[in-house]
């Protein structure tokens, strides 16, 4: 779950008045924030019944859909921004979802827990899988089926030619731009059409 500071920081990546698609929108918190503070409109995609209900409750338009089935409902470039926040690590088909994100949105924003954050490294050095605020699960019952690092994503983004225009880490509600792979528990990447491919 993203903290309210994280939401504010990531919302800054979304231009005012954007039409937004939020993949794995959870309880609709981000979309509600974007609606209330950045005059955005759009839809969330969610699979969990309780989250779908929570979105309807707060007046966020939500479409119940399994992201593993892709984004066939959505036309190319039909959104200004596609968000994939704290979702990527739960998806089997990571590559396809990133391609779909870039296909449907002019701008894509992805965030995920950074496995290379130093406390995680310490856990692994001690011979145990990390259990932290960003990665709060035991290894045997984690929904995170894709664990990667900030640096890993840079490589993948390059290979998929995502055109990353901004990237940083998030740690304790602060943006981390120095050594984010070491110092941040969350990784955030913004990519857009015509952006620079690292």
């Amino acid at each position: 779950m993203s903290s309210s500071q994280d939401i504010e920081l990531m919302a800054k990546l979304v231009p005012m008045g954007s039409r937004v698609l939020d993949l794995g929108c959870g309880n609709g918190e981000m979309l509600a924030y974007l609606r209330d503070h950045r005059s955005c409109s759009g839809y969330g995609i969610e699979l969990a019944d309780a989250n779908v209900h929570a979105c309807v409750q707060r007046g966020i338009d939500v479409i119940q859909l399994n992201l593993e089935e892709g984004l066939a409902l959505f036309d190319d470039q039909s959104f200004d921004v596609v968000l994939q926040l704290d979702t990527l690590q739960n998806l089997r088909n990571t590559e396809n979802m990133l391609r779909e994100t870039a296909r449907v949105g002019r701008i894509g924003v992805v965030s995920f827990p950074n496995f290379a954050h130093w406390p995680n490294r310490l856990h692994v050095l001690r011979g145990r899988m990390p259990i932290t605020r960003a990665l709060p699960y035991q290894w045997y019952d984690t929904p995170n089926i894709r664990v990667g690092t900030y640096s890993d994503f840079e490589v993948l983004a390059g290979r998929l030619e995502l055109g990353v225009s901004d990237s940083f880490g998030l740690q304790a509600g602060r943006v981390v731009r120095h050594w984010p792979n070491l110092l941040a528990s969350m990784a955030v990447f913004k990519f857009e059409r015509g952006g620079v491919t690292p």
């Binding site: 019944d49 309807v56 409750q57 939500v62 479409i63 119940q64 859909l65 409902l73 036309d75």
Partner: protein
């Protein structure tokens, strides 16, 4: 949660003919309807509930025959569609057999004879479409002094009517809530309807649709039609868990005619019950209306173009994973058409085991979404 308690139906007569999609028209007709709750001062809290194949205006509460309305679990004080906040209208569609003008009523175009005022419509009742029903409903709504409905709600065939409202009279509503519905029937759906219709019209008591004057009812056909319908409303797993291979008796009777399995007993019971109250011509008319519904047809098969008319409306669509008659994929087609037009839509796909029937049941996840959506509508009214 409290029920509405006793409710009374009312009739409204319309002397102006209703032009129909077929080119024909319906002369001087009556609509039977019920209302629940109070219309607020600015008349902004009205919700119209459209009925499906075998239902009626009697949506909620208990009528004079002691019968509970077909959507009583959803509509009432404190229920998801809360009648303490909304003014809810249930209306029986023309062609039906629950009080509105239908095939069993006098055809005003028929010649009076010495002993009769004329002939009842029977098979001569004009073919009515979903759009025709919506036009009839519109007149009722306007006569009630409502200039814009807060929402139109329906499930299955009722959902098609709710959709048709947004295409035909978009200025007349703000929200469309369409449950377990589809943008049109599949070939398989039409096939089931056709089997049901053949069962009715080939019943020797059908008399070409003019059975009334023979004082008989094609009950055999109606029974079979209902049995087929029932099979398609249930999911295979639900049928298995409810009936399985359970037998009526411990020993086999080795009869091809006797009831051996519980499922046979259930279907025959449903068929018998249905043939006692439902009209054969109504069954034909309503299944035909289902077959014909296809808003994309007038737009070269392009559903997205059809829904351009609904821009600015807000939608809630709900489907059920085990509903193979109106499968989730059909609702997703609707979602896509709405998304293509940048129309506000929420879509819930409820993992309920009950098949198509789920829309009439009270699955807590389903009702929670409905409740929250109507709360959202209420907060705007």
């Amino acid at each position: 949660m409290a029920s509405l308690g006793p409710v009374t139906a009312q009739d409204m007569h319309f002397s102006q003919p209703l032009p129909l999609k077929s080119g024909a028209s319906l002369q001087g007709y009556t609509l039977r309807y019920e209302t629940y709750g109070e219309l607020n001062a600015d008349k902004s809290n009205a919700v119209l509930v459209c009925h499906a194949l075998n239902a009626s205006h009697h949506v909620a509460g208990v009528d004079e025959h002691g019968k509970t309305g077909w959507w009583d679990n959803l509509v009432g004080p404190g229920k998801p569609l809360d009648t303490t906040r909304f003014f809810v209208i249930g209306v029986n569609n023309p062609g039906s057999c629950f009080g509105s003008t239908g095939p069993m009523h006098l055809n005003p175009r028929s010649e009076p004879t010495a002993d009769e005022a004329g002939r009842v419509y029977g098979a001569d009742f004009p073919v009515v479409t979903v759009e025709d029903w919506v036009d009839a409903q519109l007149r009722l709504v306007q006569r009630l002094g409502i200039t814009q409905l807060a929402a139109v709600l329906g499930g299955s065939l009722g959902g098609m009517q709710a959709l048709a409202w947004t295409l035909r009279h978009p200025q007349m509503l703000r929200h469309c809530v369409a449950v377990a519905t589809a943008p049109n029937l599949s070939a398989q759906n039409i096939a089931f309807n056709e089997v049901a219709r053949r069962a009715i019209v080939t019943d020797p008591d059908f008399h070409g649709g003019h059975f009334y004057e023979h004082r008989v009812v094609p009950k055999r056909g109606l029974r079979v039609a209902r049995m087929i319908g029932h099979i398609t409303y249930l999911a295979e797993d639900a049928m298995d868990s409810k009936f399985g291979r359970e037998m009526k008796a411990d020993v086999l009777s080795y009869s091809t005619q006797a009831i051996e399995f519980q499922i046979e007993s259930y279907l025959r019971h449903q068929g018998d019950k249905f043939s006692e109250y439902f009209d054969a011509n109504t069954y034909l008319l309503i299944t035909r209306a289902l077959d014909y519904f296809d808003p994309a047809r007038e737009h070269g098969g392009n559903l997205s173009r059809a829904f351009e008319a609904a821009c600015g409306k807000q939608f809630l669509l709900v489907s059920f994973t085990t509903d193979w008659r109106f499968a989730p994929a059909r609702s997703r087609e609707l979602v896509k058409a709405l998304l293509d037009n940048r129309i506000a839509v929420s879509y819930a796909e409820i993992d309920a085991p009950h098949g198509h029937d789920a829309f009439l049941l009270a699955d807590p996840r389903y009702h929670a979404v409905m409740r929250s959506y109507f709360e959202r509508i209420a907060s705007e009214s």
